[in-house]
């Protein structure tokens, strides 16, 4: 096989056995890789009703066929499992250099099963795979774990690990790789912790071959040129990072503020990408084979929040900033560092603290509950302390570690949790941007923006401008974006490449790399197949049409002020059309005809 290595590594931590298997070429063609292949394996091998933190759940690290090639910005991988935060299928996507290293070691996927009797880590060096004791690493944060593992394995080995949050099975725990990159969402770090697996360390000396070298070089050159020459992908992201969106969303009245009570934050500019570039930014940073470099290597000199690391990205700056009504970018950046060090998802952490602040402001969460922590909106010091407590598992952090849905439910007000399928919504108010609200409501992993990023047309005007307030055509737009992203994720590509290239270029890259003749339509159809398989998994897990909804605030409380004043989400009107476009019945179940067409029957 080309593109794909053709090999799967399977490790059973209960029995301590390691074995390799051949990747089925037909399955690879149909589900591409990464998110798609990982989902297919979960569907075939794991009961969707499984307790996500039990040994019966599996944890799949999955690279794509383009991962590890020099195709531009395509070095990513997914962690696929049943998400403990949501109960849905989880596929958390990460960059860095870990995914390519797995390929160079000879594997498309690593499937981790069972549960080790004591803390262990995996050391994969090409064909040599060892399950090693990790007692000395348990309790260590991500930077120390990474440094120690590089010392005791190989200096150039790539490390994916959990921090203390994952060890304690915090439901918002992430898996961190290459020190600063995160498979962040849905609590995949808790699954790793439940298996007593501290880290997976990989070093590979092999290569990824392509089917037609000359044609692949041509496809790469054309794709890279389009990305670089595009005004959106080629310039702004490197200079300002994703956080440049703060001012745009604020200016249109779509920046969720104060736990989504408002949609405009007066001093948002203080936490935007322009401020970050002027104060904390040391240099832009890219993942493997990246030509965009949206990553932010930053430094905070303010003694109160002193530190060095990466971030914040837009979602993080928003979550710890405007959503908590905080405009101190040093504090926001520090909160980001703490999440990276303890191994926690910044979006869910920020959203959970914002929820706690609203509970506190309403007297539902008291000083007694917080052990004296004054969780008022705008209290930057308390916000940073809340992150630290969540990371260490102390005080109110124990409650916050469960995410906002369980927190708000514990105090009798689940409606104050700004979540979909128990996962925190990201940084775009669905009342102000109708398409993204439909994407949130229907997303297979709950509140998520990147799997149907209609902000691109609705706000940025890429590839064409769509009216953010309209609902006409939005179901079709959301479905297209969701399908395309499912396919794109499965290649190992970065979503941001779509600011320069689309399905045609991905089809050309896939064809020349794998030798399988993909067309744009066939590529998107593969994405649709993956989306529907995720849906089937979720239905079997017990989710239903009832879960395809937004928090009641989004449909019942109009935005109170600003350019989007008076707006509410019109998701209920769009949902029947969305189901129809998907080929699902009125209950959101794929019809037999749809499954036949997608070869999923």
């Amino acid at each position: 096989m080309h593109g794909w290595t053709g090999k799967i590594l399977r490790v059973d931590l209960t029995s301590g056995t390691v074995r390799t298997e051949a990747l089925n070429p037909a399955t690879a063609r149909a589900f591409i890789g990464a998110r798609g292949l990982g989902t297919k394996i979960m569907y075939d091998e794991v009961d969707p009703t499984v307790d996500p933190l039990s040994p019966a759940n599996k944890l799949i690290f999955a690279a794509g066929p383009l991962t590890g090639t020099f195709a531009p910005s395509m070095g990513r991988f997914d962690v696929v499992t049943k998400g403990p935060l949501t109960g849905a299928i989880a596929a958390s996507n990460s960059g860095g250099a870990w995914g390519p290293e797995l390929k160079y070691a000879g594997y498309d996927l690593l499937i981790v099963e069972g549960r080790a009797a004591k803390p262990v880590y995996l050391w994969i060096e090409d064909d040599a795979v060892a399950i090693r004791d990790a007692a000395h690493l348990w309790g260590k944060d991500v930077p120390e774990t990474t440094e120690r593992l590089n010392e005791e394995t190989a200096a150039d080995a790539k490390v994916a690990c959990i921090g203390p949050a994952g060890e304690r099975m915090a439901l918002i725990a992430s898996i961190m790789n290459d020190m600063q990159r995160a498979a962040g969402r849905s609590g995949v770090g808790a699954v790793m912790g439940s298996k007593n697996l501290k880290a997976v360390v990989v070093r590979g000396t092999g290569a990824v071959t392509v089917a037609d070298r000359e044609a692949f070089v041509g496809a790469v050159t054309r794709a890279a040129t389009k990305i670089k020459e595009h005004p959106v992908g080629g310039t702004g992201l490197r200079l300002y990072g994703t956080n440049v969106l703060v001012n745009i969303l604020n200016s249109v009245g779509g920046l969720p503020t104060g736990n989504f009570q408002e949609a405009r934050f007066e001093t948002a500019d203080k936490v935007g990408g322009e401020s970050l570039a002027a104060h904390q930014l040391q240099r832009p940073k890219g993942c493997f084979a990246c030509i965009i470099s949206c990553g932010r290597a930053t430094k905070v000199t303010n003694p109160k929040y002193k530190g060095r690391g990466e971030g914040p990205e837009y979602e993080t700056a928003w979550g710890f900033g405007p959503d908590c009504r905080i405009d101190d970018l040093d504090a926001v950046t520090k909160a980001n560092y703490l999440c990276n060090e303890y191994g926690m998802d910044t979006i869910s952490m920020g959203g959970t603290i914002a929820c706690a602040m609203e509970l506190f402001s309403r007297g539902l969460l008291t000083r007694e509950d917080t052990a004296g922590l004054e969780l008022d909106f705008g209290n930057a010091e308390a916000m940073v302390e809340a992150v630290r407590l969540t990371g260490t598992g102390e005080g109110v952090g124990v409650l916050l570690a469960e995410g906002s849905y369980r927190l708000a439910s514990r105090f009798g007000h689940p409606e104050l949790s700004m979540t979909v399928k128990k996962q925190e919504m990201p940084a775009y108010d669905p009342r102000a941007v109708q398409g993204i609200g439909l994407n949130y409501a229907t997303n297979n992993r709950g509140g998520c923006h990147v799997r149907g990023y209609t902000i691109s047309p609705e706000i940025l005007g890429v590839p064409v401008k769509a009216d953010k307030d309209a609902i006409d055509g939005k179901p079709e737009l959301v479905v297209l974006f969701q399908n395309l992203t499912a396919a794109l994720d499965s290649t190992g590509g970065c979503l941001f490449t779509t600011f320069g290239i689309g399905a045609d270029e991905f089809a050309e890259l896939m064809t020349t790399a794998t030798g399988v003749p993909y067309t744009a339509d066939r590529f998107i159809r593969a994405g649709e197949r993956i989306w529907n398989l995720e849906r089937l998994w979720n239905l079997k897990a017990g989710l239903s049409a009832v879960d395809d909804t937004l928090p009641p605030r989004m449909t019942g409380e109009p935005i109170p002020a600003g350019p989007s004043k008076g707006a509410v989400s019109r998701v209920p009107e769009m949902m029947p059309l969305y189901y129809a476009v998907r080929g699902w019945d009125g209950e959101g179940v794929p019809t037999r005809e749809t499954l036949d067409v997608l070869e999923l029957a």
Partner: protein, 90 residues
């Protein structure tokens, strides 16, 4: 009328905001005035051959002019104009 600049346009104008009183009659007039004043480092991001760049984000009171009347969108003294070069994030 208040104008807000963002990202690279802050570099081009060396400011983040300014007032224009009286305001020019339309967005087109405003952008051409600003292009003349701040030069090609401003103009290259918002205009293309005299027309509005399809990727620049120009807001009048929070409303994208691509959904209003484009360069013909009228301006008044109490308008708030926000001008962004082509940008992305996520």
């Amino acid at each position: 009328m208040q104008i807000h600049y963002f990202a690279l346009l802050r570099t081009a104008t060396r400011r983040s905001r300014e007032n224009r009183d009286p305001p020019p009659p339309t967005v087109g007039h405003l952008l051409r005035d600003l292009a003349a004043e701040y030069g090609p480092e401003f103009a290259r991001w918002v205009l293309r051959d005299g027309a509005l760049s399809n990727l620049a984000i120009i807001l009048v009171d929070g409303r994208d002019v691509r959904g209003l009347q484009g360069l013909d969108t009228p301006l008044t003294a109490d308008c708030e104009v926000s001008i962004f070069p082509p940008l992305a994030g996520g």
